[in-house]
């Protein structure tokens, strides 16, 4: 044989001196060790290899040595361009710091005709015009938004139920498009709606202006209707009819759905996923309840803990992977977001998983009363009486006053993961986020003690699950990789 010599022949057998490049590690429950470098590239090593590596005793003949060198964990006399490459990768990974306001949320009304006990925004009953945004506030918000350096952004209409103030949505869309044309900027639109009030006129307007719809679908009819009560007990019927009508009018990608996990959902994950499949929806975001609004008042938030939710998530993820294995493309979006951060240099757009926190910089919320908040969760908190993350008011404050407000800068600065306790040493830092609003809501401190953090428990559980799957099952690894958006 011997056209080529064995690998070890290419390396001297004596100990090869190498230096470490910055890296962090985490011992997995499987006993293996996850290592990640300064740009988020990662490897999983067995314990013995890890001990050899960290004691500077790994020989170049080992396969792990080549991997560690190729992924910028070590530097030896043969790694001439490694540091330059690493710099370029780091620069690319930090690019997102330059962009602002990818998402602007307009809460056009707090009114809603549903009465969901887990409502995180503390909706109001539908007979209070006092909870509608006025055209004057909407215009002032648009003026502020277009004064920002953002070149392109998405405007998302939220509520309450935003279709209860559809006239204002029409006004904002037309005015935003006019301002975009004048300024050479690009704007797109999403309406977050329960679809109960969907009409042909709404659909026609959405079709004319390329507006997408996002809705809630919690699972099969009895579960959905239990979670999302309304007069007539027909929320599920209206939501699924609406989904079908949007799909027919705007195309399959015209509507996306979100689910919220309640106690009643915990042993129904397969039914929930199957409900999505039956509605021709090919993505699901297995989403836990957040500690805001009625979810706290009604104690639904505390009805289950993170371990129970992680069991629910694991079962769902494995079921979805099996669907893919059988040839059906179906994506779990929480995993897709994390994998995007693990397998590419892109930071992703999910504000909860940004570092530094994306509140007030990547997302801004214009509330129905003209107040400006740092994130959707921040305005949810405000409806509970806590206005910590209120940044100003569209009628009173300039853009500079809003984005440079102490309440925002303190929260963002304090939660940079590179300097946050525990996070600073965490090997999953690159794929995680700070979520200061969550930690403020649950611990009264935007940084939070991560040893007591449900957010940290959940994130760590998902990271371990994804790595375990990718390690143990090459087919699962291939499927999970395919979920990363290009």
């Amino acid at each position: 044989m011997a056209r080529f010599k064995p690998l070890e022949e290419f390396f001297a057998q004596e100990l090869h001196e190498y230096e470490f490049l910055p890296f962090k590690f985490h011992r997995l429950k499987t006993g293996r060790v996850f290592v990640s470098n300064i740009v988020g590239e990662w490897l999983v090593l067995d314990t013995q290899t890890f001990e050899l590596f960290t004691s500077s005793s790994l020989t170049p003949a080992s396969a792990a040595y080549a991997d560690l060198r190729a992924r910028h964990f070590l530097l030896d006399r043969d790694s001439g361009v490694a540091v330059d490459l690493l710099t370029v990768k780091l620069r690319q990974r930090l690019q997102h710091l330059r962009s602002v306001f990818g998402l602007a949320i307009f809460v056009v009304t707090l009114r809603c005709e549903h009465a969901c006990p887990y409502c995180q925004v503390s909706r109001q009953s539908d007979d209070h015009a006092a909870f509608d945004m006025s055209p004057a506030y909407a215009d002032a918000a648009l003026k502020l938004l277009f004064a920002s350096p953002a070149r392109e952004f998405k405007i998302e209409f939220q509520g309450g139920e935003p279709l209860l103030n559809f006239g204002l949505i029409q006004h904002i869309v037309l005015e935003a498009k006019r301002l975009a044309e004048v300024s050479g900027k690009s704007v797109s639109f999403v309406i977050t709606s329960n679809l109960a009030l969907l009409t042909d006129d709404v659909l026609a307007f959405c079709a004319e202006h390329d507006i997408l719809l996002s809705t809630s679908l919690d699972g099969p009819a009895e579960l959905h209707n239990k979670n999302r009560p309304r007069r007539g007990n027909n929320s599920h019927q209206l939501a699924t009819d609406g989904i079908r009508r949007v799909q027919n009018r705007l195309g399959a990608d015209g509507v996306a759905a979100l689910m919220t996990t309640t106690k009643a959902s915990l042993d129904r994950v397969v039914d929930i996923i199957d409900e999505y499949r039956s509605q021709d929806l090919h993505e699901i975001f297995l989403r836990p309840l957040s500690p805001y609004g009625f979810a706290v008042k009604t104690k639904w938030f505390k009805a289950y803990d993170q371990l129970e939710w992680l069991r629910f998530y694991r079962e769902g993820l494995r079921y979805i992977i099996d669907l893919n294995r059988r040839g059906e493309r179906f994506i779990e979006l929480y995993a897709s977001t994390i994998l995007g951060k693990m397998l590419t240099s892109r930071p992703g757009n999910y504000v909860d998983m940004m570092n530094p926190a994306g509140i007030g910089s990547r997302v801004i919320v214009f509330n129905y009363d003209g107040d400006i908040y740092a994130s959707d969760e921040a305005r949810m908190l405000a409806e509970m009486g806590d206005k910590t993350f209120r940044l100003g008011n569209v009628g009173a404050d300039s853009l500079a006053e809003v984005v440079l407000s102490d309440s925002l800068l303190d929260a963002v600065e304090g939660t940079v993961l590179e300097s946050a306790p525990m996070c600073s040493d965490c090997a999953f830092q690159h794929y995680c986020g700070a979520d200061p609003v969550y930690h403020h809501a649950t611990q009264g401190d935007p940084i939070g003690h991560k040893a007591f953090s449900g957010f940290c428990d959940r994130q760590m559980g998902i990271f371990e699950e994804l790595i375990e799957l990718m390690e143990a099952d090459p087919e699962a690894a291939r499927i999970l990789s395919s979920w990363v958006r290009q």
Partner: protein, 99 residues
């Protein structure tokens, strides 16, 4: 309560403190400097036995000591990489104050 002492040449104080912080959901740790080293009294707050807690605490301290060691050995690379990553790409960018 269980007790464990770390010689200073085995684990620096910062590693012990970080381990105590990391395991705060399982135990309160009273940390004192003594001539023999850093003495830690572990008071379990969760359902973990004394020997289990000591083993976990020791392993966690040693891991943090390793992290501190790696961070110290790589801090020059880290600082240099971040400096270049945030630096202007061209002289014109520098003059314009762009990164």
């Amino acid at each position: 309560m269980v007790e464990v002492t770390f010689a200073q040449e085995v684990a620096r104080l910062s590693a012990v403190k970080k381990a105590a912080y990391r395991l705060a959901a399982l135990c309160d740790v009273d940390i004192r400097s003594t001539p023999a080293g850093t003495r830690c009294e572990l008071h379990a707050t969760a359902d973990t036995s004394g020997p289990e807690l000591v083993a976990l605490f020791r392993a966690t301290v040693l891991d943090y000591e390793l992290r501190e060691d790696i961070a110290a050995k790589t801090s020059a690379f880290r600082d240099g990489l971040l400096a270049v990553a945030f630096a202007p790409l061209t002289r014109r960018d520098a003059e314009d104050g762009k990164v």
